[in-house]
Symmetry: C2
Subunit: 513 residues, 2 copies
């Protein structure tokens, strides 16, 4: 068995059974090994930003890592923006990057680059495998590192000669270290804060926002009246009828400050203290009110769900408050409006849907309109690098073939990684993509106005205008094999969405705004 | 004047008059400054790989740098693969990347990253500007560094507060250091090698492949019978009727070895000793024959054209041999064949055309068919990271509005940065794009077979098959505002190409293979 085969067999043995990839020549022996290890599902992307974003979406839903397989430094570079997002999502990814054969590197061939240097900024674990006999162990360690709480990116660089040399040894899975329990002092402090009766919020992230973690958070809220919050960047939030209500800190700093000023105490579980995305002249980066008492109950490496459960147990037991199923609102009809689109989504959303949200400015009303919709998960952009919605939808759909994915994107953000549509078609993924086409980098129009330097002049305004020429998403989708339509009324939109959810494979709906 | 305005005014004063960009919030004050400094042309890309690839194409043709303007670490990361290519092209780029305001960095907001670490692998010069009063000087130094022979990437990181703070000072242009002349010993050695009468080739790169450099190389060849070669990765090669004949070292290692074994002496001007792109088990990376005497006449930092001129002057004067205008071959008609497509291109190519070539496997016959075409420049992929043809075409067309650009790409390579089509439409660029749609990563099919491990199995073969679903480039182009057609005969192809060259703005022709 060569190194490549021992690599793939070790990954499968460690529960890594999906490989998102765009390979090249230096990875050919690994590709050949994929022929022999059929337990590994291979999903091809036409661009590496699709590959890494899909690995993120997969991990969010599967709660375990997929692996990537990327081609040398440039392939890794193309995947890096979505690795940036993943590094903020607290998800596990085993990021595999090919390298030239060791003896080829000194020749500085055209594709040579310092892959470790490129990988380092977004890798919590990083290793170049040194021998075919070692790569099994390296892969097992990479899985272990990726799965260390709360989940992180482990990059394994594989020189071609390590892959092709005989002597590979499959390594068994290593123990995943249990997340640490927060100290008794930390728990006591949180309980004391909650018992003061002061207005208190729990700011949750990672697996505190779904499953057992969110249930425990709901018990804490019920016992104390505390408010549950998520940061604006959401990895995965379980919501809809029956789920504890979690409010999202707004994106716009003024709105966030206004929203957070209600709380004099903030307990962090997996989240960092809320700060604005960007700095603005003469504005504070900090969003919490002065004097807000902030306590980290559990941080990265600690057991978020366990901490919340322990906290809930220490508090009086009361019936959790959960969102109620909205009385089915009438399906909105007529002219397209943002509130109408949001209502329609709330009405049509099927049970168990996974909503991927990067609609930015156009989509800001959709969470409010879906709070009482059928139970669903919500995945957002965690690192602020736009162009992740379509890839995330690929990964989520691969992880959850029995669920429906609704992907909300915009023309601006969608164009970064539109190649994901092709992978959706190729894999027959059940993704309904909605493109809000406002023909603008609308968020930048807003941000410019927020700087206090007046309105943009014609040349600045032109850089926010992506309507010259108009992007035609129906053509783009069809060009990549995805059936598509344009909705110019709410009726058309609702009909197209329903058809999308009821048919197999991907569809796309463009909404000109 | 704030820092942002002093930055832009310094760039313009230093001859940097084109900005390829995809800006974000942290760059808004620079965008606002662009409103006030109308001498800087702004070209928007929907994805940063378009931005950096266009800056490369611009530099190849303008022989001076454009600047980029990229959004934080992720924007830079998206542009990195084409910066990899540019780093191998010996071209100047002033690469400007926004950063959070200095006081915002400690909060680790979602978009925070170590931008210097991300930029370092591909930046020969790298600085984070520290103050509004300094950024003018920083920009002037960045231009100087970018223009140092033979041209390199200089990255200037601009914190938002440096941009928005008052006190900016415009800096005048700094002297561009003259390229060093090779030593007399080096020149003597080259001349002696040429006088031996042994079979000798000059391997040329950078500006030795066009203009005065190539003319001097032609004189050397005429005087001595030496053969002129270019590496397979070509930054810019002047060719066609009237130009000295330069042969390209083949991509396929076996072919390159066969080709180079004719030469017992090799003189390098701007080029490195030829090596294979990739390593293969039991094959050498070195492409030259054993015992080949290799001498570097001029390396990076030295004056390639001056060295060749000095060498030619030291040799007897004979009339240069240049390519002759091919007797106009008949326009091929009928069924699509690769030789037919190549011949058609040779017949139709207008004088002064710029050919951008990333057609990979399908395009390998086109250079031979255009050797006697009307004079033109040829731009290739220099770093092996595919996805540069469309962006390069954007940059070349912006640099040379009076010339016609023929962009040869493939479905696989084109999909990495297809967003460039939108910029072509937006700017009305005279680019005729030909997409060779073979529905495969054909180069990987070849490379797999070259490994000596048999034919790919079904799962490996599936990773090279991008025809499931079929990409429809006519739809894709129309989706981005570029008129497009599909040619299913050589007659249709020739007609569409002629129409493309004779009309204003971009067109695209898909050739199903």
């Amino acid at each position: 068995m060569n190194g490549a085969e021992s690599l793939i067999r070790t990954l499968v043995a460690g529960g890594v059974e999906t490989c998102f990839t765009n390979p090249g020549t230096s990875e050919m022996h690994i590709v050949a090994a994929l022929d022999r290890v059929t337990e590994m599902r291979c999903v091809l992307g036409l661009f590496e930003g699709v590959v890494t974003g899909a690995a993120d979406g997969y991990a969010r839903m599967a709660e375990k890592p997929a692996c990537t397989l990327l081609h040398l430094g440039p392939g890794l570079a193309n995947g890096m923006a979505n690795l940036h997002n993943a590094s903020r999502a607290q998800v596990p990814i085993v990021n595999i990057v090919g390298q030239h054969a060791t003896h080829h590197l000194p020749y500085d061939a055209p594709l040579t680059s310092d892959i470790e240097a490129i990988a380092r900024p977004y890798s919590k674990w990083l290793r170049t495998s040194s021998a075919a006999t070692q790569i099994g162990c390296d892969a097992a360690e990479a899985i272990q590192a990726a799965r260390a709480a709360p989940g992180q990116i482990a990059t394994l660089i594989v020189p071609a000669d390590v892959a092709w040399t005989e002597g590979g040894v499959v390594a068994g899975p290593l123990a995943i270290p249990r997340a640490a329990q927060p100290s008794a002092e930390s728990l006591d402090r949180a309980a004391s804060m909650l018992r003061t009766g002061l207005p208190t919020a729990l700011l949750l992230a990672g697996n505190a926002l779904y499953g057992e973690g969110l249930k425990a958070a709901g018990r804490v809220a019920a016992a104390t009246g505390a408010t549950l919050l998520s940061p604006y960047p959401i990895t995965r939030l379980e919501r809809g009828a029956g789920a504890p209500v979690v409010q999202r800190v707004p994106y716009v700093p003024e709105q966030a400050v206004e929203f957070l000023k209600a709380f004099s105490q903030l307990i962090l579980v997996g989240a960092r203290p809320p700060v604005s995305y960007f700095a603005y002249p003469n504005k504070s980066s900090v969003l919490t009110p002065p004097g807000c008492d902030i306590h980290t109950l559990a941080g990265p490496g600690e057991d978020y769900a366990g901490a919340l459960d322990a906290l809930a147990t220490a508090l009086p037991r009361r019936r959790s408050l959960t969102a109620e199923r909205t009385g089915q609102p009438a399906m909105p009809t007529g002219e397209i409006t943002l509130p109408g689109l949001a209502t329609a989504i709330g009405v049509v959303l099927p049970e168990g849907a996974i909503v991927v949200d990067e609609a930015m400015t156009s989509g800001r009303g959709i969470m409010a309109a879906t709070i009482g919709a059928l139970p669903h998960d919500w995945l957002g952009n965690t690192g602020g690098s736009i162009g992740i919605a379509l890839p995330l939808a690929v990964g989520a759909a691969v992880a959850c073939p029995d669920r429906r994915v609704l992907c909300l994107t915009a023309d601006g953000s969608g164009m970064y990684t539109a190649q994901a549509l092709w992978t959706m078609a190729r894999e027959g993924l059940n993704v309904t993509t909605v493109v809000f086409s406002n023909r603008a980098y609308a968020v930048l129009q807003w941000e410019f106005l927020g700087l206090g330097i007046g309105a943009p002049g014609p040349r600045a305004a032109d850089l926010f205008d992506i309507g010259r020429p108009t992007l035609d998403w129906v053509h783009l989708a069809k060009g990549m094999g995805v059936p598509a339509s344009r909705a110019t009324s709410l009726d058309q939109f609702a009909k197209a969405m329903k058809e999308g959810f009821e048919s197999d494979g991907p569809t796309l709906i463009e909404i000109p705004l």
